[in-house]
Every structure is written in structure tokens, then in C-alpha cells.
């Protein structure tokens, strides 16, 4: 007892100074020379700050089947280039089926396909049909790429909202977590994020017979697509069908910019697209070769318009019209600029908090902490007198330590997190209760005050460790399996338990040692 190690006192002082410095940014702004690692305030969770929390599921398998479908185009091109005639090209899930017309071309075709599609495994041809299956490793790569790309695209769209510090991160293998603090309009956010914004340009098959195609005999290489729903004069709804060439001439990937503009003919809001260099060249070629024909602009699977190409267009820009409101035109420009989603995304979880609820939660949480803390402080002081006051000093130190630790490790405070702190107040004094009760017992056995203190601390120690470790186990499991706000509870509870072991044992011991050493001989303990 008389020899409380010096280094422990220095350790306590060092922790105290670091805690004070680390906690300060939560109260006031710190000067620029303040250590960077101690300059961050604790961040508040969305449930306290208000904002939108979304978990999106990326339909990654769609991205894979989409890429297989695109490879049909590639197959068509390479076969044509080598003048190999084919009968049928089709995609089925992860498999490409390619039927060659003449037996004589089989060997050539086999070599060509093997060279072109090294991401596929090719089976021996059956009746002149090659069947190529996408390798699982390549498919996985595509899935991963789709999620990464979706994150980039969504980030672009959310940045356009102009909010501060949005969070967009991958969660698991095909989910994306989106948090937009301080933003309220969840309907708008969901709409902006969820749109695929797939933009395609296809030629209208002017020679094909639309009426015949509608009855089922669609010319090979063609596809029927529809315009937006319109209401006829008699009140019935209809959608204009178009017979289009399947091949996509240009896509949203070849856009460099999209801006809201006013369509001069009808004085309506429109979105003007600018193609990038590659897109401009393709567009130039397309319009040169097909003067007099129509090309369809398809947005998210719906034919937006199909203007006639009157002359070659070299400038590289196009316009999308369609009685937009200013807000709709603005949103469309944003999503086209940010690019298309590589696969559809779906909201699978949402937790959005209005700003007033967050503010209420902070106030109620702080009230609980303050009232709970004061009650425990009073109770301990009455019950254990001087030693109770010592425990109270440790408890306040503990609160300070939690605040500092949460700030330094960059933890996020959530509403359940506040509950964790409140609970820690109750449990932090437990270690002191154990020690003090033990000291009282030792005194009853007739030991001298100093011996009783020594015995109390020594005997209570292993109990404290055992009891706290079990609670810590529960907290760690909670952190592992919990999600979102519940994790916040696990973090504050764990930090609180660890902090309390330091303050309740080491700090109180130091105070007790200091006060008894001054008095020299201690006759009676105020416990």
C-alpha cells in the first residue's frame, strides 16, 4: 500500500491528459497545433443526426447475363469479319450458342471462337453448334465489377444532391450501404438512386412490317419496344410500339455531358446530351449512313422518341424531350451525367430519420445520462462516504475516457450507443462496490485499515476481471452479429467496460494511496 508504483501515477496522469485533449474537440474547436489524432470530434449516427440510410441490393446476375448478351454482338462481328456464315446466335444464362452454317467452316470457327472468347469454356460442337459457357471466375469478376461500378455511379448521383459527407460503401458481396446525413426527402433519394439510366440508341427497322411483327413474326435481328404510356382522346391508355434493330448503335457510356435545356420547338424542358469523341464519331457515321431513316432513343427500356435523321450530324449532340417538369429534367440530367447502373439495384432496407426525431433523441439520451449519473454519484457518496467520493471521481474519469476513446477511434454514437453509456455508468461502479465490500469484510475480520485496503483490492481483482470479461464476451458477440445502431451499443458498452476496469481499479487505488500516505498512520476508514 505504501509503495504505490510511481509509473502507475504517471500512466494515470498521461491517460488523463490524453483523454482531456481527445474529448475537447467535442466541446469546442481546437487550435491548429493540436495533435491530428486527437482533433476529431465523435461522429453522430444517422439516428441522432437525421438522414437517410439505405441498403441496396445489386442484381449482379443481371450484369453477368447482360455481358453474355453483349458478347453475341462480338461473335457476330468476328464471324462476319472472317466470312464465316452462321445460322443462329443466342444467349442462355451463362451460355452462348453459336450455330455455323457450313461444315467446311467448323475448324476455322472453332479456332476463331476459342481465341476471341478466352473467358469461356468451349464444348465440342454438336451438330455444328458451339456452346460456350462463361467461366465462373470471369462471372465473379463481372459481378464484383458491377458492384464497384454501381458504387461509383451512385456516388456521382448523390454528390449532385450537394449534401455533406454522404457514405457509400460496399456491404458483403453484392450490397451497397448508402447514408445521406441531413437529407430528408427519402422518396427523391430512392428515385434518383434506383433508376438504371440505361440509355440506348437503336435504328428503326424501316423495311420491316410492324403490324406483322405485332402478330408474332418478328424479322430476325429485330425487336419490338414501346413508347411511354399515353392517354387517347377516348380515355384509354396505349403505348406506341416500334420495330427496332436489335443492335445498340450507341449507349449512355458514350456521353460526356448532359444538361437541362429548353426545347425550342415546343418551349418544353429537355435534356441535351453531348457525346464523347468516340460517341461523336459513331454518331457521325450512323447519321451519314442512314439519312431518311429514324433512330430511337431508348431510356430505361422505354422508347423516348424516334426522330428522323434529316442530314448527317457531325456535332455530336442529341436531345431528349418528353414534357418534363423542371425537376424531372434536372434529375434526368444528373443520372445521365453520372452514368448508367451496370445492373438494376433494389432497396432492401431503409432507416431514415427526420431531423426533429434525431434532436429529440439526443436531448432525451443526454438527460438520461445526466440524471442516471447524478443518482449514482449521490447514492455512492451516501453509501460509502469518502470511498464513495473516490469512486465518483473514477466514474467521472470513466465518462471522460469513453468520450475521448470514442472520438479517437472514430466511433459513431448512436441512440443504442447512448443506452450503452448509461448502462456503463451503472456497471462501472460495480468494480468499486466489489472492492469496498471486500474492504469492509476485511475490517470486520479485525485487520488494520491499511491491510484491509490491500486485501480488499487484491481479493476483488480476479472477481472483477472474470465478471467484466463475460460482459465483454456478450458485447463482442453483439458487435459481430449486430447491425447498424446495435453495433453502436456494442461499441460503447465494450469501451465503457474496458475504461471502467482502468478507472475503478487503478485510479481509485492511486487516490486512496495518496490520501492514506499523507496521513501516515490511518486509524479509521470512512467507508
Amino acid at each position: 500500500m505504501h509503495s504505490f508504483p510511481r509509473w502507475k501515477i504517471w500512466l494515470i496522469l498521461a491517460v488523463l491528459v490524453v483523454s482531456l485533449m481527445g474529448a475537447l474537440p467535442n466541446i469546442t474547436s481546437v487550435p491548429s497545433w493540436w495533435p491530428a489524432s486527437l482533433s476529431k470530434p465523435m461522429s453522430l449516427g444517422l439516428d441522432l443526426k437525421g438522414g437517410i440510410h439505405l441498403v441496396l441490393d445489386v442484381d449482379v446476375d443481371k450484369a453477368v447475363s447482360h455481358s453474355v448478351e453483349e458478347d453475341i454482338d462480338t461473335a457476330r462481328q468476328v464471324l462476319r469479319k472472317d466470312k464465316i456464315r452462321y445460322r443462329k446466335l443466342s444467349a442462355e444464362g451463362l451460355t452462348l450458342n453459336i450455330t455455323i452454317k457450313n461444315d467446311a467452316d467448323l475448324a476455322n470457327a472453332e479456332q476463331l471462337l476459342a481465341e476471341t472468347f478466352d473467358g469461356y469454356t468451349m464444348a465440342d460442337p454438336v451438330e455444328r453448334t458451339f456452346s460456350l459457357t462463361l467461366k465462373e471466375s470471369v462471372a465473379d469478376e463481372t459481378r464484383k465489377f458491377a458492384v464497384d461500378q454501381a458504387i461509383e455511379v451512385i456516388r456521382g448521383r448523390i454528390d449532385a444532391l450537394g449534401t455533406t459527407e454522404p457514405v457509400i460503401i460496399k456491404q458483403g458481396s453484392h450490397r451497397i450501404l448508402v447514408q445521406i446525413p441531413g437529407y430528408e426527402d427519402s422518396a427523391h433519394a430512392k428515385q434518383l438512386i434506383g433508376r438504371t439510366a440505361q440509355l440506348e440508341f437503336k435504328l428503326v427497322d424501316e423495311k420491316g412490317d410492324l403490324d406483322k411483327a405485332m402478330t408474332g413474326s418478328i424479322p430476325p435481328g429485330d425487336i419490338i419496344m414501346y413508347g411511354p404510356e399515353e392517354t387517347r382522346n377516348d380515355g384509354t391508355n396505349f403505348r406506341q410500339p416500334y420495330l427496332l434493330k436489335k443492335r445498340t448503335e450507341l449507349s449512355g457510356n458514350e456521353i460526356s455531358d448532359a444538361r437541362v435545356s429548353i426545347d425550342s420547338r415546343y418551349n418544353e424542358y429537355a435534356v441535351t446530351l453531348k457525346f464523347n469523341t468516340k460517341g461523336s464519331r459513331k454518331f457521325d457515321k450512323l447519321t451519314t449512313a442512314h439519312v431518311g431513316e429514324r433512330f430511337a432513343i431508348i431510356l430505361e427500356g422505354v422508347v423516348n422518341s424516334a426522330p428522323v435523321i434529316r442530314e448527317r450530324i457531325a456535332g455530336g449532340s442529341a436531345q431528349i424531350t418528353g414534357s418534363f417538369s423542371p425537376a424531372e429534367a434536372h434529375d434526368l440530367a444528373i443520372i445521365l451525367r453520372a452514368g448508367a447502373l451496370p445492373a438494376p439495384v433494389k432497396v432492401v432496407e431503409e432507416r431514415s430519420i427526420g431531423p426533429s426525431l434525431g434532436q429529440d433523441s439526443i436531448e432525451q439520451g443526454m438527460n438520461s445520462i445526466i440524471v442516471g449519473c447524478i443518482m449514482v454519484l449521490i447514492f455512492m457518496a451516501i453509501y460509502y462516504r469518502m470511498f464513495g467520493l473516490v469512486a465518483n471521481v473514477a466514474l467521472i474519469f470513466n465518462m471522460l475516457l469513453i468520450l475521448a476513446a470514442m472520438s479517437i477511434i472514430g466511433g459513431t454514437l448512436t441512440l443504442p450507443g447512448i443506452a450503452g453509456i448509461v448502462l456503463t455508468i451503472g456497471m462501472a461502479v460495480d468494480a468499486n462496490v466489489l472492492i469496498f465490500e471486500r474492504i469492509r469484510e476485511e475490517l470486520r475480520l479485525g485487520k488494520t485499515p491499511l491491510a484491509a485496503i490491500d486485501g480488499g483490492y487484491a481479493k476483488a481483482f480476479s472477481t472483477i476481471v472474470d465478471a467484466n470479461i463475460t460482459t465483454l464476451i456478450a458485447a463482442i458477440v453483439l458487435f459481430q452479429f449486430g447491425s447498424g445502431p446495435v453495433k453502436g451499443f456494442a461499441i460503447t458498452l465494450s469501451v465503457g467496460i474496458l475504461a471502467s476496469m482502468f478507472t475503478a481499479i487503478t485510479v481509485t487505488r492511486a487516490i486512496v494511496a495518496a490520501s492514506t500516505a499523507k496521513n501516515g498512520r490511518v486509524e479509521k476508514l470512512s467507508i
Binding site: 441498403v55 427526420g354 465490500e437 463475460t470 453483439l478 452479429f481 446495435v486 458498452l493
Partner: protein, 314 residues
């Protein structure tokens, strides 16, 4: 100041039959409530949409229903939440459409009827069916893993019978707290699982402190010339730690009560689970964990005696 007189020697173990009856009644009531009424699972587990709205003036529930009926949600669960101006609306997921837009439709409907300025979105939660399943699985896993980890730790630090006693107390506490949720029809949500795990940690904390003393006293007892019976030692240990057990429960209850009364509606059920857990956890660390441990001791001892007897035979 002292809550418990140091001279107190209350015969806890002697009352174990009464405690057994009390526990049995609580457990059977809980299991009965679970079987008959079942738990009122929140959208975290069932999937669905929850919208909390604050109105300028307290609306009639019927008017709220009228407002959202045209949108197709006339069968929603609508209730007051904490204050008459605050309304909670709960809707099941639909299979046919993108369920994440349900909240938009509800807010639109309310805006059309009451005026967009008269209502304020407080909270929107939507859990898709798949996520609901995942959260359920994670919740069950969390409770099981926590119990297993604790069983291992206590076995490692004490003895197996102590671990079984501790886990019996845990099972007892969890069943009763969950049963209380079934009985009161309170919503069983994700934060309640967090509260359950905390109860596990807390109840165990209490049990460990008693066990620690029992182990210490067992060792002292073994060195005595005339050892006392294990029952006496256990009884003494519970008495010695009693004032600590009650003190800690009291301080923890104080703060959790503060949370329950002042913490707001969102945290209310969470605090309720903690209060129930602390009360039943304190009880079980005295009346369940040690008696179970002793009961196991009796059986193992008999087994040992039988083995000795068999070995002694020619």
C-alpha cells in the same frame, strides 16, 4: 451505511424448493404466453414498413386510416407513439411491387389529407423480406454464440458444473424476459435482442461474483480439519456477496430506470427488457445458479461413490 447486516445468515439454499416453485411458475407462464400469444415481432424480423409521423394537432386514428386507404393501405396497423400527435403506421411488405416505395405512398396520402405542412416525417423504416430473414438468423446466432462462448469461458475458469449452473440461470432469465414480451405484447425488435445479450452479460456478471466466492470458500474449506458441507459453504458465500449483489443491481437499476423514463419512446422497450433482465438476473444468480450447481454436485458425487463401490467388489 449498510443495506445488509454483516451478521445476516439467511438460508438461501434451504429455501430452494420455494424458489424452484417460483421459477417454475414464471417459466411455465412465459412458455405458455409464447405458445398461446406468441411474440409480437417487429419489422426487423417480419419485414415491412414503419412510418412515424408527427402531426401539428393530434389526429383521430380513423382519419389517418382514411388518408392512407386510397393508397391501398387501409389494413395498416396505426397507433399512437408516446404522444397523441405522434402516430406510428406499420404495413406488411407486398410481393407485387417494390416495397421500398410504400412509405412514399403513405406520406403522400397523409399530405393530401392533412396538408403537407401539417405533418412531419419522423422516421421511416423498411426491411425487405430477405433482410428480415437474415436479421432473424443473425439474432438467433448471436444469442447461441454468446451462451456457448460463456459456457466455454466459465468451464475454463471454474468447473463444468459451475458453467452448467451459470447457463441454467441464463436460460432461465432469457426465457422469462422473452416470455414477458409475449405476455405484454410489446414489440420484439432488433434492439430487444441487444438488450437480451446485455442481460446475458449482466446476469452472468452477477453469477460469476457469487461463484468466485464459492470457489474461494471451497478451497478454504478443503484445508479445514473438519470441513463443512458444500451446502453450508455455498450459503455462506451467497450471504457474503449479498450486499454487493444488491448494491450493483440497485445502481444499474437506477440508471436503467432513468433511461426508461427519460430516454424517449424509441428506446423504451429496450430499457424495459433491461429492467426485467436485471431483476430476474439478480434473483437467478442467488436462487438458480448455485442450487443447480449443487444439485449437479450431488449427482456426480453419487456416480463417483458407485464407481468406488464397483471397484471395491472382488
Amino acid at each position: 451505511m449498510q443495506l445488509i447486516s454483516p451478521d445476516l445468515h439467511y438460508d438461501f439454499i434451504g429455501k430452494r424448493k420455494i424458489a424452484f416453485i417460483i421459477s417454475a411458475v414464471m417459466l411455465l407462464t412465459s412458455l405458455g404466453a409464447l405458445a398461446v400469444k406468441g411474440l409480437n415481432f417487429g419489422i426487423d424480423f417480419t419485414g415491412g414498413t414503419l412510418v412515424e409521423v408527427k402531426f401539428d394537432q393530434a389526429p383521430a386514428i380513423a382519419d389517418v386510416r382514411d388518408a392512407i386507404s386510397p393508397k391501398g393501405y387501409g389494413n395498416a396497423v396505426i397507433q399512437e407513439f408516446g404522444a397523441p400527435e405522434e402516430i406510428l403506421i406499420r404495413v406488411q411488405n407486398k410481393n407485387t411491387e417494390d416495397s421500398s416505395t410504400i412509405s412514399n405512398a403513405i406520406l403522400d396520402g397523409l399530405g393530401e389529407k392533412f396538408g403537407a405542412d401539417a405533418i412531419e416525417m419522423r422516421r421511416v423504416e423498411f426491411v425487405g423480406p430477405q433482410v428480415g430473414e437474415e436479421l432473424t438468423r443473425a439474432g438467433i446466432m448471436a444469442v447461441l454464440v454468446a451462451m456457448l462462448a460463456i459456457l466455454i469461458y466459465v468451464t475454463f475458469r471454474f468447473e463444468f458444473r459451475f458453467a452448467l449452473g451459470a447457463d441454467a440461470a441464463l436460460l432461465h432469465d432469457i426465457t422469462i424476459v422473452v416470455g414477458l414480451f409475449a405476455l405484454t405484447g410489446k414489440e420484439f425488435s432488433l434492439p430487444v435482442i441487444a438488450a437480451l445479450l446485455t442481460v446475458i452479460g449482466y446476469s452472468l456478471n452477477d453469477t460469476i461474483v457469487v461463484f468466485d466466492r464459492i470457489r474461494e470458500n471451497f478451497e478454504i474449506n478443503r484445508k479445514r480439519k473438519r470441513p463443512e458441507s458444500e451446502t453450508n459453504v455455498v450459503n455462506g458465500s451467497i450471504n457474503q456477496t449479498l450486499s454487493r449483489t444488491l448494491m450493483t443491481s440497485l445502481t444499474t437499476l437506477l440508471v436503467v430506470m432513468a433511461l426508461f423514463i427519460l430516454g424517449g419512446e424509441v428506446i423504451h422497450d429496450f430499457a424495459f427488457a433491461l429492467i426485467a433482465g436485471i431483476l430476474v438476473g439478480t434473483y437467478s444468480s442467488i436462487y438458480v445458479a448455485s442450487p443447480v450447481m449443487l444439485a449437479l454436485e450431488g449427482r456426480f458425487k453419487q456416480d463417483e461413490d458407485e464407481i468406488k463401490e464397483m471397484e471395491a467388489r472382488p
